[in-house]
């Protein structure tokens, strides 16, 4: 207990850093939704200014989104640096100290990727930038989790999640992450909404992508933001994202159903799985709304943020479930479950917080 009490402020700081990162992802969503990624052509300067001294009077149009994104990213970088140092100096768990270092390296890499995206003008870098942002968010949330009381072994007393259910959670996590990468790929095509209707697609279950059809839809599309012409690959990507959503939702439904059947009633994983299902249903709704609103920036950005939230929820549920299984196995095979102190393995007392 003492270890977690000692880390209370560290834990709060980790949560704060994760929340700031969540907002940063939202701001990144606004940047791409407003096609403002290149509104500030230089980096790390902003229109020749030191980015922290760029006059607010000039935060106009797309600059507002891109420059705010850079400033918040710098703030998250600072938070992550402090977090890594804090962990290194105070944390007993060696792996967690190194996890702090990994978070620091990830945020540095993320900043460089963002800068290179601007300097080299390569769209694919933007996709990596988005994917790493989500991995980084999960990493910070994981640090927040393992520095919280929720990580104490006593919290897992009396429940564990079967291996098959844990596997299902990881599958759901993988599918949600894949969806996020597909979504980022769609955003970085700069082709707008490749399929403008839902639940059908150009009035069909699967639209045609032949040259005649593509020419027709491109001729008829009147969009003031003049997105790139729609190509067959854009339509396939969009439809894959829809199918992926259906698959991820199905897996989360199966997960909720399975946890109700296979996990004891008091286990929090049942609530987590149900919460994840509710989140994913809302997320699917926002996906549909994104299409119906012709990719309105605010709606599309909420869709991005709900996706990030879903990834965090699924991955942390997976981590907690896996930990419950490990602790239960240790408790049953090695020694009676030792509340609050630790477990005995191979004759050694292993402090709870080293796990």
């Amino acid at each position: 207990m003492g270890e977690f009490r000692k880390n209370r402020w560290l834990n709060r700081f980790a949560i704060f850093s994760a929340v700031a990162t969540w907002f940063l992802i939202g701001l990144g969503g606004l940047v791409t939704s407003h096609e403002a990624g290149m509104a500030v052509p230089d980096w790390p300067t902003t229109y020749g200014y030191n980015m922290f001294l760029f006059p607010p009077s000039q935060w106009i149009g797309g600059i507002l989104y891109e420059h705010s994104h850079r400033l918040l990213a710098s703030f998250v970088g600072l938070l992550t640096t402090i977090l890594a140092i804090w962990l290194w100096l105070t944390e007993d768990r060696r792996w967690l100290r190194w996890l702090g270092v990994a978070a620091f390296l990830a945020v540095v890499l993320q900043g460089i990727l963002g800068g290179l995206r601007v300097k080299l003008m390569i769209d694919q870098l933007g996709i990596f930038h988005a994917a790493l942002a989500h991995v980084f968010l999960v990493l910070l949330c994981f640090i927040a989790l393992v520095t919280s009381r929720a990580w104490e072994p006593v919290r897992f007393t009396g429940w564990s999640v079967p291996g098959a259910t844990v596997s299902l959670i990881w599958i759901a996590t993988g599918l949600i992450f894949t969806q996020l990468v597909l979504g980022a790929s769609m955003r970085h095509q700069h082709a707008g909404l490749a399929v403008p209707d839902f639940p059908l697609a150009y009035g069909q279950l699967w639209p045609s992508t032949d040259e005649v059809f593509l020419e027709k839809i491109n001729r008829e599309r009147i969009d003031p933001l003049e997105p790139n012409p729609i190509r067959a690959s854009h339509i396939h990507l969009h439809m894959t994202h829809r199918l992926g959503a259906l698959t991820a939702l199905s897996v989360v439904v199966a997960l909720a159903w399975r946890t109700r059947r296979s996990v004891m009633g008091t286990a929090p994983v049942r609530r987590y799985a149900m919460g994840l299902l509710v989140l994913m249903v809302i997320q699917a709704g926002f996906g549909a709304w994104t299409v119906w609103s012709n990719k309105a920036a605010d709606v599309a950005t909420v869709h991005v943020l709900l996706g990030a939230t879903g990834l965090v929820a699924a991955s942390l549920t997976g981590v907690l479930s896996a930990r419950s299984g490990v602790l239960a196995r240790i408790g049953s095979s090695r020694a009676p479950f030792v509340r609050n102190v630790g477990v005995k393995i191979n004759g050694e007392n292993l402090a709870a917080n080293t796990l």
């Binding site: 096609e35 403002a36 290149m38």
Partner: protein, 243 residues
């Protein structure tokens, strides 16, 4: 020696005669079918650009600018083939594009490879000039900030490309499109759809008309013309498919 001088003089004479007989290719671009309705540009929603437009009519997209007679503006017309073996004059003078009222003016223009393009910012606010060539065109992408009152930018492009896009990411509705070809025989149709490609040497040519929206791949419709001393005429009809 005398023979050589005589031959040289003859060549110069023939060349000058050729130039003298250069004619114009004129014509009209007509739109057939009913084009989709244009949409308002979101300029008024921008607090800074909105001020420049206060009290003025709302500006719309400019995809299908057709007059009452069906004349279609902003179509790039150029000689696609037939110039092989002919002396192509080097590019002279500069083409000017202005960023005014949070729009690029003109929206569609022509440019010869190697010709100077001068980009000005007349607005009291900043823009960025983002050149976004096609991946396989060979032209280079660039993105530069242009503050209010700053000096003009100059560009040259070495490879033909129809269309080479310019955009402003600060104001995401701002676009301009250049038809870049490796000779000076091109024109952009006016508001009534008319165009004139001036001083074309006599000969037979394939002339192409490309409309940015109707021909999104940059390949338009063609016809063969024979240019004589009195020039040639080439009318084009661009169809919009029925909805």
């Amino acid at each position: 020696m005398r023979k050589t001088i005589l031959l040289a003089l003859s060549a110069v004479a023939i060349a000058s005669v050729s130039t003298n007989y250069a004619g114009d290719i004129t014509g009209k671009i007509s739109l057939k079918g009913s084009a989709p309705a244009e949409k308002d540009l979101p300029i008024a929603n921008d607090p800074f650009c909105g001020k420049l437009f206060a009290g003025k009519p709302v500006t719309t997209t400019r995809f299908y600018l057709a007059d009452s007679s069906g004349g279609l503006a902003d179509t790039f017309v150029f000689i696609k083939s037939g110039l092989e073996g002919k002396t192509i004059p080097a590019a002279t003078g500069a083409v000017h594009v202005d960023q005014k009222g949070c729009e690029y003016l003109p929206y569609v223009f022509g440019l010869q490879t190697g010709q100077t393009l001068n980009v000005k910012n007349s607005d009291p606010l900043m823009h960025n000039v983002h050149v976004t060539p096609g991946a396989k065109s060979g032209n280079k992408e660039s993105n530069k900030a242009q503050m209010a009152g700053s000096k003009d930018y100059e560009y040259t492009f070495e490879h033909p490309e129809v269309f080479l896009r310019f955009k402003c990411d600060v104001h995401p509705w701002m676009f301009a499109y250049a038809g870049v070809v490796d000779h000076p025989y091109f024109a952009v149709s006016a508001e009534d759809g008319s165009f004139k490609i001036a001083n074309v040497p006599p000969g037979e040519y394939v002339v192409e008309a490309v409309h940015r929206k109707t021909h999104p791949r940059g390949t338009g419709i063609t016809q063969t013309v024979k240019v004589g001393a009195d020039g040639a005429k080439a009318d084009f009809t661009i169809e919009v498919p029925a909805n």
